[in-house]
Amino acid sequence: MNINLTLFAQIITFMFFWWFCHAFVWKFIRNAMTVREKKIADGLEAADRASRDLELAQDKAAQQLRLAKEEAAGIIDGANKRANQIVEEAKERAREEAGRIKVAAEAEVALEANRAKEALRKQVGALVLAGATKVLEASIDESAHQALVEKLAAGL
């Protein structure tokens, strides 16, 4: 229990260990811990950012999918419309063509009929003439009665 030189020995020892701890221990451990704390903070922040990015990307993907769907629907719609239109146009054209063909056919039929009529008329005229000639036995002047026969033929 005596107070003696131990007191000073302890003060010196204390100062030495303090210096040692300051120079060789504390800052190395503390610095590494600070670096790790920063690493962890950065890591957590990166994870946060990544999950935020993921959310954004998912949103964006969903949006793009929706847009694509809309666009596809639009395209299909357009295609359907166009198809209908084409069909309608084709129908219209067919109808027109048919009409035209009918008209042409009718015209041709009429023409043919006329031609046939004309031929018939001529033949009938000639026939009548021939008949009449036979009946009159050449007493009738062919040229004098031509007009008469033609009138007859036109009446057919």
């Binding site: 229990m1 005596n2 107070i3 131990t6 701890c21 300051h22 060789f24 190395f28 451990i29 790790r36």
Partner: protein, 316 residues
């Protein structure tokens, strides 16, 4: 017990005597175990053979056991932490590094709470104090007779003195608190200057006025202030050192008293064993608490030493 013929008082005293190396004054009469008296011609540096010799050495003596354990445990702390600091990395910590980091973190938080100035030496100071005192206090948990008995077997001297708890030696605790006291003064003067430090000691708590009639009372106030402030300043290291010493000395004393019962029959021996266990469990609290109290008070004192008062408060 060290010897069968020993009395309880002798046993206790033996346990409370340090292994002392010091200078015996000239003319001192040494009495050895066989009763031979040897008168010293000149002052001699030697190991004290008895408590009386240790006392006769006075101030010129060193407690070898206290210093050995103190330095040994300080080295244990330093080298252990150094070995971790050397291999320190900021990856995933393992094993010892975890434990050391826990201590560093704990000290760092404590320092940040109590010390708000920029001084990178305070945290290492706090850690040195905390871990070192904790280790020294922990020596108290080793049964009181084990290490002295080992020392007696090694030296072959059945009366070998050997105290193993450095913090039950007031030289150790007061030595540390005196070191803290020196740091208080050094940092105070570094931060406030000599004038600022003197002002702090003399212009508080009663502020002397230098205007009008007040100037007559100024010297009296300064004297009163100085008396009060010096007492406050000096009481810091004394209370710091003696608190630690008192707690550990009392704890050690109780362990020794319990140990005296081991020689008094089987029933009492078992009872003593239970008591020793119970006291050790309780003492774990004291060990950690006292190390922590010393650390926190040191941090607070360092904070006060760094606190530069507003200059203007002395002038209005």
């Amino acid at each position: 017990m060290a010897g069968e013929s020993q009395t309880t008082t002798g046993y206790i005293q033996h346990h409370l005597t340090n292994l002392t190396y010091g200078k015996l004054p000239a003319g001192y009469e040494r009495v050895d175990h066989h009763g031979h008296v040897e008168k010293l011609e000149t002052a001699t540096w030697t190991m004290a053979e008895s408590g009386a010799e240790a006392k006769a050495m006075g101030f010129m003596a060193v407690h070898v056991d206290s210093m050995a354990w103190s330095i040994g445990l300080g080295l244990l702390f330093s080298l252990l932490f150094w070995s971790v600091a050397r291999k320190m990395h900021s990856g995933v910590p393992r094993g010892l590094q975890n434990a050391v980091e826990m201590v560093v973190e704990f000290i760092d938080n404590t320092v940040n709470e109590g010390f708000h100035h920029k001084n990178p030496t305070i945290a290492p100071l706090a850690m040195t104090i905390f871990v070192w005192i904790l280790l020294m206090n922990t020596m108290d948990l080793i049964p009181v007779d084990v290490l002295p008995r080992v020392a007696q077997l090694i030296t072959g001297n059945p009366h070998q003195f050997f105290k193993v708890v450095p913090t039950t030696d007031p030289n150790i605790t007061v030595g540390m608190s005196l070191a803290v006291f020196l740091l208080i003064i050094v940092f105070s003067i570094m931060k406030k200057g000599v004038i600022g430090f003197i002002k702090e000691l003399t212009f508080h708590p009663f502020h002397p006025s230098f205007h009008g009639i007040g100037i007559l009372f100024a010297p009296i106030l300064i004297v009163i202030n100085f008396a009060l402030e010096s007492i406050a300043l000096i009481s810091k290291p004394i209370s710091l050192g003696l608190r630690l010493f008192g707690n550990l000395y009392a704890g050690e004393m109780i362990f020794i008293l319990i140990a005296t019962m081991f020689g008094a029959g089987l029933a009492l021996g078992i009872f003593a064993g239970v008591l020793q266990w119970a006291w050790a469990v309780f003492h774990i609290l004291v060990i950690v608490l006292q190390a922590f109290v010393f650390t926190v008070l040191t941090i607070v004192y360092m904070g006060m030493a760094h606190q530069v008062e507003d200059e203007n408060q002395f002038d209005h």
